[in-house]
Every structure is written in structure tokens, then in C-alpha cells.
Symmetry: C2
Subunit: 328 residues, 2 copies
Amino acid sequence: MSTEVIMNLKEQVKEALTVIEKRTVKNVFFVSCGGSFALMYMSKYVVDREAKIIDAHIYSSNEFLHRNHSKLGNDSIVILCSHSGKTPETVEAAKLAQAKGALTISLTNIIESPLAETAEIALKYEFGKEAGFTSSHSILYQITFAILKAVENNDKFEAIIKSLEQLQSVYDKALKYSEPKAKLFAELHKDEKVIYSMASGSNYGAAYSFAICSLMEQQWIHSNAIHAGEYFHGPFEILDESVPFVILLGLDETRPLEERALAFTKQYGRKITVLDAKEYDLAGINEEVKGYITPLVLNHVVRYYAEKLSIERNHPLHTRRYMGIVKY
Amino acid sequence: MSTEVIMNLKEQVKEALTVIEKRTVKNVFFVSCGGSFALMYMSKYVVDREAKIIDAHIYSSNEFLHRNHSKLGNDSIVILCSHSGKTPETVEAAKLAQAKGALTISLTNIIESPLAETAEIALKYEFGKEAGFTSSHSILYQITFAILKAVENNDKFEAIIKSLEQLQSVYDKALKYSEPKAKLFAELHKDEKVIYSMASGSNYGAAYSFAICSLMEQQWIHSNAIHAGEYFHGPFEILDESVPFVILLGLDETRPLEERALAFTKQYGRKITVLDAKEYDLAGINEEVKGYITPLVLNHVVRYYAEKLSIERNHPLHTRRYMGIVKY
């Protein structure tokens, strides 16, 4: 990504910060659909752990619209993401938020879009393999930590920015390391009808997006993102040697849940794919925020696995039968 | 259920109310695992909509333990449910909550259990087809609305109690109505390897428990509780005429999401089972809280569908290969 784009983004986040600083903020709502919704789990995790004042809520856009949360108001910030900026229920959600007096912040790839034009603060993210610091995930973190800094004087903003600046290099190294593993995964799973994913804490969103976007939407493979803690209270009974699991291991405080789920699955399963953030070279990522950064890396890598799978299955990632094709 | 058990429960809730009234309450955490976790979604929905002050959070017990939410403290109430009262991570969650100064309220079927003995307020629920007013779902609502009454002077407590008193009769009529439908579902789905469930709002928990408990745990059938709003942002691409869906339609404010999901599924799918609360006789349920009561009814009915399925498949609901059998 060019230095200009990066500097421009930093300027935008700085401006957003000055807007936020002028407001009373009691809660943040993370509101989106599908893949954009999935990316917000990690920010909910951050606010849950870091904030002394702010409460964090996360809802799929249409649920947010109809649930009509009683604490949405003047003291709220609503962060909304949509790649095209056209997702109808996310645009409606932004309008509801504004009608209730909340500050709206949009993340889109297209700045001339209904969502970006509706939101008070409109941030543009870049897309693709080189997006790194300017990707949706990175920008969401920049704005989340900016809010925590502005409202609560949280001291991790600088560490996050510095770490996110290294993201592209971390991504590149992680993909290079993962290439043979991703290829093996693709070969072994090309004929599977069901593949489960599993994670916890800040990484749950990466597992969710892998299940509902990469597998169900893009590969038409049955899936479910199982929460690693919930696994032992129902879902694990589905496990036998024929059932494939993709298990994410992050570096946040919930890692013991993921480790426990993996240990059990290894004992009774056979088709197990592990993406362990411990194996990736995270040089340049601040120790203090490593747990928060790993979901971005895991998400990037697991998407690469999906790409390899799509090639092996000869089912391109963009193949759709309904989305953007039929009316709904 | 005997009048004595019912009067005793009302007395317990009244006592809990006097304890709660003495505290400052800023948030409520709903913390449990599996089926007990699933039932809490409806209370989260209620607090989201009704509360002016209280924030509601919902976490699977081990996630709650490790996430270490920064707003858990003196001003918190933590509600924990475990059938046996022995779920280790739920007992640990109660201990953490108490160490942080929160008021803990347990719901168990066994009152001489580690969880009930740990919690400050221990409510005992009854179990089985006659439990109605004294069931876990009913008691959770009684305590949720008691908190809203005590802290916020919310006026729906009486309407909820009166409605819950009619629950058993509503359940009985709904099951009678559903018998031929449940049998047909069982016959048509006995050989299915994957069955999806779907709902939104307060009903999502019933869909979740059907997916992870009834299907995955008790029938070893692949499943995923798809959120009816998220459906259109990924999962719906899995749909074709061979993929079975069980769709719940409640009467809460998110019903349009469930209706939209159903309409789409009808257009491109063929194996569709609908449980529509509109078809049930809800006599005695207060109009004002009808939307809140329907998830209990839908949950009761969808469990009945699972029972019929288990008979048709000759796979008893209590069959397990890991839970309570092997170490984990």
C-alpha cells in the first residue's frame, strides 16, 4: 500500500478521534452482516476486556434494527461495515442509529456508497492481499482503540498502530509458512461435505467467517463455527474419525479453551487441521497486544486455506447461486 | 406441579427480590454452558429491550472465566444455570463472580450441588413435561423480570408471572397440535445427515439448543443454528432442494427476519419444517409479553420434534459416546 494511502488513513483516524473526544460515550454497537459482522467479534472482545466505562454490543444489522436496544442513544457510537457500502439493512441500521442521536462510523471499500454517505464518519478501507494496515480489520482496530483512548485514556493505541504497521509483513510470512499446510488441507478435504471450524475469544469471528463465508457461501460445504467452550456441552458428540475440524489457536486469554478442544478432538478425531498462531513469526507485534492481533493473522491465513481448497475443488470463491443474482 | 412447589418458588423469587432491591445493579451477566446457555438468549433479549439502566451480557461459562470482562464487579448480577449444578466451568464462573463482588444467582435442578452451594441465591427448578411454571426457562424469566422490577421499576413482572402460570396449559395444547407435524418431521428426516435450524431475536436460543443439543449431541446429526438475518450474508448459499431446514417463527419484534428467511427458503428449498407460534393457542398469555413468552413455547415444541425424531431413528435421546463417559 502506498505511503500516501497510509498517511491519509492515519489522518482520517486522527480526525475521527477529535470528533469522538467531544462526545460522551457510554457504549459502542458493532453492527454489520456476514463477513463484515464476523470481523467485529475481535473488537467486542477488546472493549469487554479494556473498557472501564464503555459497554460493547454486537448485532447482525437486521437484528439490531428490530431488537431496538434500549440503550442506543446520544451516548452511543455505532460502527458499521459493508464492503460495497450498499448492504440495505446496514444502511438502515445507520439511519436508525442517527435518528437516536448516536455517532455513526462506517467502514466501506467504496466511499461513494449509501452507507458511507449516511455515516457521520466514513472510513475507506483497502482490499486484497496487500491491504495490511489499510484493511477493514486493521481500520476497525484503529478506530476501536482510538475510541478507548479518547473516552477512557486507554494506553494501547500507540502499540496497536505500531503493530498494525507490521501486519503486512506478518501476513506475508504467515502465508509463506502456511503454503504447504494449506495445500495439504485442500487435497485432504476436497471431497468433504461437512467441515467444522472452532475457536474462542477474539478468534471466534475468524472461525465464524470461515464457516459461513468461506465454506457455506463460497464452497457450498456444510459448516458451523463451534465455540471451543461450548464444544463440550453438546457439539463434541458429533465427532468421530470421519468428521473434519479446522481449529484455530490464538494467543489471547481464552487460548486454554482452544487447546482443550484440540486435545479432545485429537483423541477421538482424525481429520484435524490446526492453525496455531504460536507457529507464526509475529516480529514487530507488540507483546502487550499480541493476543488482540492474532485474530487478524488467523483470519488471513484461514482464508488462504479456503483459497487453496477452492482451487483443489475447482469451485471458484466467487461462485454464487443466490447472492447478488436472485431477489431476496 | 403441586401448589406447594409453586408457592415455594414464588416465595423464593420474592426473597431474591428483596436481596436485589438492596443492591446497586448496573449489569447482568448470563453465564452457562450448552442447553443452559441456550435458554439465556431470551433473557438477554428482554434486558436489551426493556432496561433503561442495566446492561446485559451473555457468555458461555469458560469464555466468561477467561475473557475477564472489565465491567464485572460490585454492581453486577451473575445468573448461572446448570442442570446437575456440577458443570465445573459454571461453578468456577460463580466463584470468579463472587470474588469480584457480584451477586450470584444459580438455577439448578439439584439444590445440593456445588453451583447451588456456591451461589448467594440458589433457585431450584423442576424438570420434565409437567414442569411448566417451575421449569428452568420459567424461573429464569421470573428472576429476570424481578431484577427489572427491583432495579428499574419495570412494570411487566406481574404480566410475566400471570402468563407463566398458564405455560403448562399452553405447552400441552401446543404439543397436542404438533403431534402429527412432529411425527411427519421424524419420518421425513430420519435418514438426514445434516439439518439446519434458524431463528432470530428471543427465539435464537431455541434454534441453538435444537442444533447443538437435540441434533448434534443427542442424534449425532450435523447442524448449525443459523441466525435468520445472517442467513442472507453467507449461509443461504448452502440451500438446495436436498438441504433440510427447521425454521422457528416467534412473535417478537424480529419476526420479519424469520419470515424473510422462510420465504426465501420456500422458494429454493424443499425440505422445510416450520414451527410458527402464530398457530399455537396462547390463551392466558398477556398480549404485552406474548413475544417474550413464545421462545419458551417454541423451545418446548421443537424438543418434542427431536423426541419423535429419536424414536423414528431408534437413537434414544440419552445416547452418548463422550459426555459423562470419557474424560475431558
